[in-house]
Symmetry: C3
Subunit: 154 residues, 3 copies
C-alpha cells in the first residue's frame, strides 16, 4: 500500500496512520509519501531552524504546524474547539492520540518518504524532519505506487 | 471498486455516489466504507438519540450534519448560498438530488460499511445509521480494498 | 495512471500536474478526468461566455476561478497571502508556475477528459474549456480507471 499524504490535517493524518498501522499488522508493505502540507506530519517539533532560509521560508516555517499534534481539523475546527472535542472523545474510547499512531507506524516499519520538490519549495531541511524520512522525487514515488496494490491520495 | 468516504461534504458525497451508481450499472462490485465525517452521509435523520452518550458525544451529534442533504459544500459554501445554487442547477438539468443518488446506490446493491473506530470515537450508535450499514474495522476494509481494482479516498 | 481531479485548488492542481508530468516522463499513459471544481483547471480564461446560460449558471461562471492561476489554496489561503508566498518560493527554487506544469502536461500528451455531468450541472460549455478536453461520462472514466494501475482522487 502506498499513501500519498498531501493534507496537513489532524483527522486526515489520523485516517492515513490508522490505515498504515492496520496494513502493517496484516503484513502488508506500507509506504507513506509526505508532500506539501503533509510534510507537517513529519516535522520534528524539537528541530526547527531559521538558518539558511529566505525570508519567505522563515515566515512559512513559522506559520505552519510545528508537529503532528499541532495540525488543524479538515472541518469543524471552530478555533480548535472541534479538535479538543475529538481528542477528548478519543481518550474516552482509549484510542491512542495521533503521536501514538505516528510512533506505532515508525516502530512497525512503515516506510517514510518526503517529496523532494515540496521540501525544496517549502524550504524545510532534512534535519528538521523525523530521522526516518528519506527524500525522494515524485518519479521515485510513482515507481513504488505502480508496484503496490492500493494507492490513496489523502 | 472500493470507495473510502472520509469527507462529510455535499459535493464529494455526490462524486462518490455517482461513481458508485455508475459502477453498479456497469456490473462492478462496489463497496463504500464510511469513516469520520463520511459517517454523516449514512446517518438516518429520523433516528438520532442522546441516550448512553457522553456530553461530548451529545454535543458532537448535535453540531454535525443530520443526514445527507444537510452536508456543506467543500468549497464556496458561502453560508449555504453555493449549495442552494448547485441544487438549483442540478434541478434545471434534471439531475436527481443527493438523496436519490444515495437511494439508488442502496437499491443497486452497493455494499455499505461503517468504520468501527470512527463510530466509537464519534459516539454514533448502529441504530442511528441506515439499516444497510455494517460496522467493520480498518483491517477488514483493507482486505476488501486489496481485492478490488479501483480504490479511492474521497 | 488515472487522476480524478475533483478539487479546484492551486496546491492540489500542482500535486496532480506534477504526478502527471512525472508519469509521462517515465513513459506511463496518464489520464486526467476533471470533475466539479476540477473543471476550473481547464477553463480557458480567454473564452468565457454568458450566452445560453441560466441566471444561476451565469452567476456560477462569474464567482468560480477563471483559470488555473486563479485557483485558491486548499489551506492557508489567508486572503491570497499564502498563495503569494508559495508562488514566490516556487520562483526562488526555479520551479515552473502552475501554468507551465499545465502546458507541460498538454505537450507531453496527458489525456484530458471533462466530466459530462459536471459540465452540464455547472453550465460550462465545451468551447469554454481548453481544446484538448474531451467530454466523457463517469462510466467511461471508470472503464479507463479499471485498466490503469494507479488511480487517485485529488
Amino acid at each position: 500500500m502506498t499513501l500519498l499524504m498531501f493534507s496537513g490535517e489532524y483527522d486526515k493524518a489520523l485516517a492515513g496512520l490508522i490505515l498504515a498501522n492496520s496494513g502493517r499488522e496484516m503484513g502488508m508493505d506500507v509506504t507513506m509519501f509526505f508532500a506539501f502540507w503533509g510534510l507537517c506530519l513529519v516535522r520534528d517539533p524539537e528541530k526547527m531552524t531559521l538558518e539558511d532560509k529566505s525570508l519567505y521560508e522563515q515566515m512559512f516555517g513559522m506559520v505552519t504546524p510545528k508537529g503532528i499534534e499541532d495540525l488543524p481539523l479538515s472541518r469543524m475546527n471552530m478555533a480548535g474547539l472541534g479538535k479538543a472535542m475529538l481528542k477528548e472523545m478519543m481518550e474516552d474510547e482509549d484510542t491512542p492520540p495521533l503521536t501514538a499512531f505516528l510512533n506505532g507506524a515508525r516502530k512497525k516499519g512503515v516506510q517514510f518518504y518526503g517529496c523532494k520538490l515540496s521540501v525544496d519549495i517549502m524550504g524545510f531541511k532534512k534535519e528538521e524532519l523525523l530521522p526516518e524520512v528519506q527524500i525522494i522525487t515524485a518519479a521515485d514515488f510513482l515507481q513504488e505506487a505502480m508496484e503496490s496494490q492500493i494507492q490513496l491520495f489523502i
